[in-house]
């Protein structure tokens, strides 16, 4: 097994799921959401490169073609812009496509359809047309994927009106947010992370949805507020758990779940207590989710802030392919812990 697959698997093993109930993996949770919706709603269909192949999108879509037929679950040409427009057109005319990509990097081919079309049609048509479209992709960090295969591009889409952007971090959320995305009448981009795919978690059976724009506390604490999503939030949790054990440092850790819409209230609520903000994101620190959350707080909750905001994302460089350079590139629980310590010690 390759180094990063091993890492992901081990990581999944060491982290035991919290709570009571049925335990399944992240990919199983996602698949369950798809099965439920495919059964319930004949308008839903799945497509994407290799959606029906033996890999089946990390296993998420494996077997679904056999279950629901080749008409509703199908492979596509390698034509991201065209297929995004085709999905948009299908959504405009009554269907509910769920379009899978292996990596968010490939969404860059479809920005015209995403930004100029899918996200604007409801507005442009004065509400007469809706575009219930789900676009799914998983950040491909690791395995030497390199500059064109590891990007986290949510920051590039954050300011686009009409889009919703979902970034789950647990199997429970992954399922509930995907169900919510399929039910939503707008284009929803789901950005998963490859490194979460083998995670286990408690996941209820049946349909449930997690509201968009509502964050959740993953930890409660005193010294600072940490805000983020997805895999970087998991790192932050590891960091704070360690710091709590070692140095008694605690934090409110807020999982935003969706970055657009973005739950301002929960951030302000927490800051009223802690006065210190750390924003973490899988994308570039500059100009993306970190910047938006940081600015939002400096704008609307300035009086709550007791210290400078800190942000942890990627440096202003493309993601390098090589293993060693990758180690320098990505934040880790250790580097996050370091920043937390600086913030708490007031350095």
């Amino acid at each position: 097994m390759l180094w990063d697959e091993k890492l992901v698997e081990e990581n999944a093993k060491t982290k035991n799921p919290l709570g009571e109930g049925r335990v399944i993996t992240y990919t199983q949770a996602l698949q369950e959401a798809l099965v439920l919706k495919l059964k319930q709603d004949s308008r839903v269909f799945l497509l994407g490169q290799g959606v029906d192949d033996p890999g089946g999108m990390f296993g998420v879509t494996r077997g679904l073609k056999e279950m629901f037929g080749a008409k509703r679950v199908f492979d596509t040409p390698v034509s991201e812009e065209g297929m995004t427009g085709i999905c948009t057109g299908a959504a405009m005319t009554g269907m509910r496509p769920v379009y899978f990509h292996n990596r968010p990097d490939f969404l860059l081919l479809a920005f015209n359809q995403l930004v100029n079309h899918a996200s604007k049609i409801h507005y442009m048509d004065a509400g007469k047309t809706s575009v219930p479209l789900v676009i799914w992709s998983a950040i491909g960090r690791g395995w030497g994927s390199g500059p064109q295969h590891s990007q986290a591009i949510q920051g590039l889409l954050l300011s686009v009106p009409g889009l919703k952007i979902v970034m789950p971090s647990t199997p429970y959320d992954a399922k509930g947010l995907l169900l919510g995305a399929i039910e939503d009448n707008n284009p929803v981009i789901i950005i998963e992370h490859r490194w979460l795919m083998k995670q286990q978690g408690v996941v209820p059976e049946g349909i449930y949805t997690i509201p968009f724009g509502k964050g959740v506390y993953r930890r409660r604490g005193e010294h600072l507020t940490i805000v983020g999503t997805s895999q970087t939030l998991q790192l932050a949790l590891a960091a704070i758990d360690q710091l709590k054990a070692e140095e008694g440092i605690t934090a409110d850790v807020i999982d935003l779940r969706t970055v657009k819409p973005l739950d301002e209230a929960i951030i302000f609520e927490s800051l009223a207590k802690t006065g210190k903000l750390l924003v973490v994101d899988t994308g570039w620190a500059m100009g993306g989710v970190c910047a938006e959350v940081g600015c939002l707080v400096a704008e609307k909750a300035f009086h709550l802030l007791k210290a400078p905001i800190r942000r942890i994302g990627l440096p202003d460089a493309p993601s390098p392919a090589g293993y060693t350079l990758e180690q320098f590139y990505y934040p880790t629980d250790v580097t996050i812990a370091q920043t937390i310590k600086e913030m708490v010690r007031g350095k």
């Binding site: 509703r72 057109g89 299908a90 079309h117 507005y123």
Partner: protein, 347 residues
């Protein structure tokens, strides 16, 4: 220098074709063209008043394409188009009042003053929408055809596009997918030899557009787009083929009399020869058809006058309607950014 010759068979051929059609059908076709011409001229004549604060892309000279083509469609068939919307919208039965209201930026415009002239839609008659992005509507229309395929409907979707739209890769991505799934769609390319002020020879090597589509495997036609009956007959074959067998591509040769946008001819600026325009004006699609109607005895001065008066009345009423309609208010601005609509499940 005349770069682009008229290559059709002229009025005699129109007359010959006319003999195979019913009077009523011929009158209807002529009426559609005349109505489009008169509406366009009326819009143009008022454009200098600067009350229609929207770009306009007049179809004058190209009426036969939409008129002839759309006559072959069922009311339940769908149409999409690009920035040159007016004729497509009217030929499909789009509401004139709502169109003028849109031009006058009124709240009751067909796109609620959000879209302007480049975004006309009237879903009640199957006019599904348009995109101001060249080729942007092509995959949308293909997606609409995918909906019909998924729903086992016999609905045909048509998308009108310009000669420049085939330069966008998404044209070929869409056609490839449509052929792959044998979708019920017709691509109607109005080749008027110019993209804004760029002659086609600056943009494409000397290869017929329809030959490219043929190379991709589509049933393809090259048509005299100034001959409404040739257009209509090919459209009937195309729509029938699309409905039962799959994609069709039509290249209709025609010519735009006015500037790319706005009012008036712009040949004096030098990008095309005034002689070229004169040549094409001598093949006026509306006048040719009128002469055929006269020579067949289906129309005379009196009945033509009645027709014109009817259209004039309609135009005046539509202008009145638009001019006296209300502007949008501030609260309208952020409506319809997101669809809150139902997520009604279809079992």
């Amino acid at each position: 220098m005349i770069k682009y010759q008229y290559r059709g068979k002229g009025p005699e051929h129109l007359l010959a074709l006319a003999r195979n059609h019913e009077r009523a059908q011929l009158l209807a076709l002529f009426f559609t063209m005349l109505r489009i011409r008169m509406i366009e001229e009326a819009v143009e004549s008022r454009y200098h008043e600067d009350q229609m604060k929207t770009p306009i892309h007049l179809a004058i000279g190209q009426e036969a394409v939409s008129a002839g083509y759309s006559a072959a469609l069922e009311p339940s068939d769908y149409v999409f188009c690009g920035h040159r919307t007016h004729a497509c919208y009217l030929a499909k039965g789009g509401d004139l009042k709502a169109m003028f209201s849109e031009f006058f930026c009124r709240a009751n415009g067909c796109a609620g003053s959000r879209g302007g002239s480049m975004h006309l839609l009237d879903k009640s008659v199957g006019m599904m929408g348009s995109s101001a992005i060249v080729a942007g509507a092509i995959p949308l229309a293909t997606g609409s055809a995918l909906s019909s395929y998924l729903k086992d409907e016999k609905r045909v979707t048509t998308v009108f596009l310009g000669d420049a739209a085939v330069e966008e890769g998404v044209m070929w991505e869409s056609l490839n997918f449509a052929l792959l799934k044998k979708l019920p769609i017709v691509y109607v390319c109005e080749n008027n030899y110019y993209s804004v002020c760029s002659p086609i020879e600056y943009r494409q090597p000397p290869v017929e557009i329809c030959k490219k589509a043929e190379g991709f495997g589509a049933l393809s036609f090259s048509v005299d787009g100034n001959n409404v009956l040739e257009m209509y007959e090919i459209a009937q074959r195309a729509v029938a083929h699309a409905r039962e067998k799959g994609p069709v591509f039509i290249e209709a040769h025609t010519y735009r009399w006015r500037g790319h946008h706005g009012s008036g001819d712009d040949s004096h600026t030098g990008y095309r020869d005034v002689q070229e325009l004169a040549l094409w004006q001598s093949q006026d699609p509306v006048l040719m058809m009128k002469q055929v109607m006269y020579s067949l005895g289906y129309l005379d001065e009196a009945s033509e006058r009645v027709m014109r008066e009817k259209i004039e009345l309609e135009i005046d009423a539509a202008f009145e309607h638009a001019i006296h309609s209300a502007n949008p208010v501030k609260e309208d601005l952020c409506k319809f950014v997101y669809s809150e609509g139902d997520t009604h499940v279809v079992g």
